[in-house]
Amino acid sequence: MRDFLYDLRRTFTGKFTIISIIIVILIAVGIGFLFTSATSTSSAGPSALIDNSYTYSNGTYNVTFYAFNQYGTPAGTLPIYTEHNGTFWTNNTQPNGFLNLKINSDSSFELLNYSLSPFNSTNHLDVQPMVLSQKQSNELYVNINIIKKPGTTNSREIMVYYSTSNVSQAQSAYLYYKVVNVTGNQGPLVPSNMTYYATLTTKGVGVQVFDINPANMGAAQQVAVAVFYAKNATFASSEAQYSPTSALTKIGIALVSFDAFAEIYGLIIPILASLSAYFYFGKDRANAVLESVITRPVTKGRIILSRYTANVGSMIVAFAIGVAIFEIFLNRATGYYMSLPYFGSLIWTYFVEIAAFTGLIYLASQFLKTQGAILGVVLALSIVFGILWSIIVLPLILTEALHLISGTNIYTHYTIILNALIPAGYPSLVVFYIGQINAFGSTVNAASFGITQVSLAVIGVIWIILPILAAFVIGRRRD
C-alpha cells in the first residue's frame, strides 16, 4: 500500500498536477463569473426602478422617489434628473434609495418630469411625467413591485411601496393573493374570492417585501396579488401577477451548469489527463527512471496500477475541486447547488474520460521508446480526439465522410455511435441522455437511440477498464 500512497502523494504534489488544478479552478471561476454576472444583484444604474409618491401640505408638495434594482435592493447615490416649470435639477438618491424634493406651490395641479438619464427637453424618451394634485395627496398610496428574490436567478417576490401623509398614525392595508391560470378568465380581484395573506402597517413612506409561494402551482399558473384598503373593498388599490418560482428551476439550473461543465471540462480533460499520464508515467518509463523502481520487490503490473491510480485520482480531484468552486458561485447567485445526481453524473463522466485518456497513454507508453514519441501521441490524441473532436472532427466525419445531413435522425444516430467509440465523446452522450436534446436543440427520446442509463454505464465501464487493462496485460510482460 505504501507504494500507492507514495505515488499518490508524489502525483498530487507534482508540479503538473498543481498547474492542472489551477487551470481547472480558473475555468470554474470563469464560468462562475459568467453565471453570476448574468444574475448580478448589484448592478443598478439605468436598469434601476423607481417608485414615487407625494404629499401636500401648506403650499408645499413633498415628492419622494425610491430607487431600487431588480432584486429590490435600494439604489443609493443614483442621480435622478427632474424638471419643473422649465427648471432642471439633478439630485442623488440617499444610500437608502430615497430622494425627497419639495416644490413650493399652492396651485392644485403641478407637473414634475423625471428621468434616470439627463434630459433637457420633456420630449426625451425616458422622461416620466408625475402629476401632483392637492386633492389626492393625503390618501394612502400603495404600489406593488415584482422583484427578483435575492440570491436567485429568476424566482420572484413582491415589494409593496407605501406612502401616506399621516406619519403619526399607522393606516392599514390588506394583501390578498390567488392562484390564477395564465390563460382564461380570472374573474375580478376582490377580497371575497382571494386568500388573505398579510396586513400592511403603513406610516410615512416605506417598502415591505412579501414572498408568497403557494404550494402545488401548475406550470401555466401564476399568482395574482392585490392590496385593498378595506377587507370589503370592491376594487384593488394596486395589483400584480407573476410566477413566484422561476422559469429556470433547480433542474434547469442544474442542467445548464451540467452542460457547461460536461462540455467545457470535457474539452480540457483529454489534454490534461494525457499530459499527466505522460509526466508521471510515460516520461519516466521512456527515460528509464522507472527502472530503479522495477528492481524492487514489486512487479511491473503493480507499478503501472499504482501510478495509474495516482494519475486518475489526482485528475478527478482537480476537476471535483473545479466543480465545487463553481457550486459556490452557483449557490451565491441562485441559492441552489447542482443537485447530487447531476454532480454525481458529472464526476462519473470525468472519471470515464480521465481514465480512458490516462489508460490510452499508459498503453502507448508500452510501445513507444522515446519521450518525444509519447509526447507526440499525447498531443495527437488529445487534440484530434479530444479538443477538436466534438467541434470539428466529429461534424466533419458525419458530413464529409458519411455524407449525412445535419438535423436528421440518422445524423444523430451516427453522432452517438462515433461518440461511443471515442472517449472524448462520452460527455456528449451523458448530456444527450440527461437533456434528452439532440445537437440541434430538438427534444428527442435518448432511449430510442440506444442511450439509456444502462448503455451509458456499459460504455463508461468499458472506457474505464479497457485501455488500462490492455496497458497492464502488455506492460507487465514487456521490457
Binding site: 507504494d3 507514495y6 508524489r10 522495477i294 524492487r296 520487490p297 514489486v298 521490457d479
Partner: protein, 306 residues
C-alpha cells in the same frame, strides 16, 4: 547466490542475441568480475538478473527464487547499481529511499535511522535536502549504492561501478565491495576494463558477443602477466613452429607469434632468437615482455564487441 541458466536475450528479430545461452553462478562470499568490451552484453545480463527486462529464454534464480516467476521474492535479494544512475530528478533522497523501502515492507523510525546512516556512509547526508537532479555524477553514483543497500539484499549487481571514479573513489569502492564479500554477500561487478577487476575479483567471467568465453580463476589471474616472447618471422614454416613450441605455448595474433608459459627463465629467452637465427629464420621482430592483463584480455575478446 545467483544462478544463471541458458540465459538468452534477443532484443529484436533482426538482431543477434545480446546474451546467448549464458551459464554462470555467482556464489555468496564471492566477487565475480564480468568483463567484456562495449556492447558485449554485460548490462543486458545485469538487467536480466535484476528483473528490469525479460529473458527470451533461460532462467535467473536468485537465492532459489526465479526472477520472472517469483519476481517479488527474488527482487528482495537484488541490489542493483546501474551503469547510469537515473532517478526521479525532482525527488529528494530521503522520500525516495522511503518509497523504495516500502517495497521491502520497511517502515517507521527503523527505516529513518537506516536511511540516515546510509546517506552518512555515502557522504550525501549534507545534500539530503537537495533534489537528485542537482547531484553531481559522483553523488548520484553514491546515492545509487545507498539505494541498492536499502533493502539489505544478499546479492549485488554493480554495472561498471568503478568506471569514472577518481583513484580514491576506486579504492573506497573496492574496499566496500570486499567488505560486502566478507559479510558473505554475493557481488557481481561488470567492467569493460579487465585490469579494473584484477585486484578485487575472485574470478572473472569474460563475455564476448553475448557468449561466455572463459572464466578466469583467481590462481590463473596471478599467473597472467608472466613473461612472454613476441616474435615476427618473415619465412615462417613448420620448423620454426617446432622450435618455438619447445620453449612454451605458441599463440598467433596475425603474423605475430606469442610464446607463453615459457619453459625457460625470462633471462634465458634470448636463446630462442639464437636458435631461430642458426636455422636461417629471418626474425624481423623479437621482444621479451611481461604480457599485461589487458593484452591478454584483448587477445581473448579482440576484434570488437559485436
Amino acid at each position: 547466490m545467483i544462478e544463471i541458466r541458458d540465459l538468452t536475450k534477443i532484443y529484436g528479430r533482426t538482431q543477434k542475441p545480446a546474451v546467448n545461452k549464458l551459464n554462470l553462478e555467482i556464489n555468496d562470499g564471492e566477487i565475480l568480475g564480468f568483463a567484456g568490451l562495449n556492447g558485449a552484453g554485460k548490462s543486458t545480463t545485469i538487467r536480466l538478473i535484476s528483473g528490469i527486462i525479460f529473458p527470451s529464454s533461460g532462467h535467473v534464480v536468485v537465492n532459489g527464487k526465479d526472477i520472472v516467476k517469483n519476481k517479488i521474492e527474488a527482487s528482495k535479494n537484488i541490489g542493483w547499481v546501474p551503469e547510469l544512475p537515473n532517478f526521479e530528478p525532482n525527488s529528494k533522497p530521503i522520500p525516495l529511499l522511503k518509497y523504495y523501502a516500502g517495497f521491502y515492507g520497511l517502515r517507521g523510525p527503523e527505516i529513518e535511522d537506516k536511511i540516515e546512516s546510509l546517506l552518512k556512509q555515502f557522504n550525501i547526508w549534507e545534500a539530503r535536502n537537495r533534489k537528485l537532479k542537482e547531484y553531481s555524477q559522483g553523488m548520484k553514483k553514491r546515492f545509487s549504492i545507498a539505494a541498492a543497500l536499502i533493502g539489505d539484499p544478499q546479492n549485488f549487481l554493480f554495472d561498471e561501478t568503478l568506471n569514472g571514479l577518481d583513484p580514491e573513489g576506486v579504492r573506497n569502492m573496492r574496499d566496500f565491495m570486499v567488505k560486502l564479500k566478507k559479510d558473505g554477500k554475493c557481488v557481481f561487478l561488470s567492467s569493460h576494463i579487465l585490469s579494473e577487476l584484477e585486484n578485487v575479483a575472485d574470478r572473472i567471467a569474460i563475455i564476448k558477443k553475448g557468449e561466455l568465453i572463459k572464466i578466469v580463476e583467481r590462481n590463473e589471474l596471478s599467473s597472467l602477466g608472466s613473461t612472454v616472447v613476441k616474435v615476427r618471422i618473415e619465412n615462417m614454416d613448420k620448423g620454426a613452429m617446432d622450435i618455438l613450441e619447445k620453449y612454451g605455448k605458441v599463440e598467433t595474433n596475425g603474423n605475430l607469434l606469442i610464446v607463453k608459459d615459457l619453459t625457460i627463465s625470462s633471462t634465458e629467452a634470448r636463446k630462442i632468437n639464437n636458435e631461430l637465427a642458426k636455422n636461417d629464420y629471418d626474425v624481423s621482430q623479437f621482444e621479451v615482455s611481461g604480457e599485461n592483463l589487458e593484452e591478454y584480455f584483448l587477445g581473448l575478446v579482440g576484434g570488437g564487441g559485436q
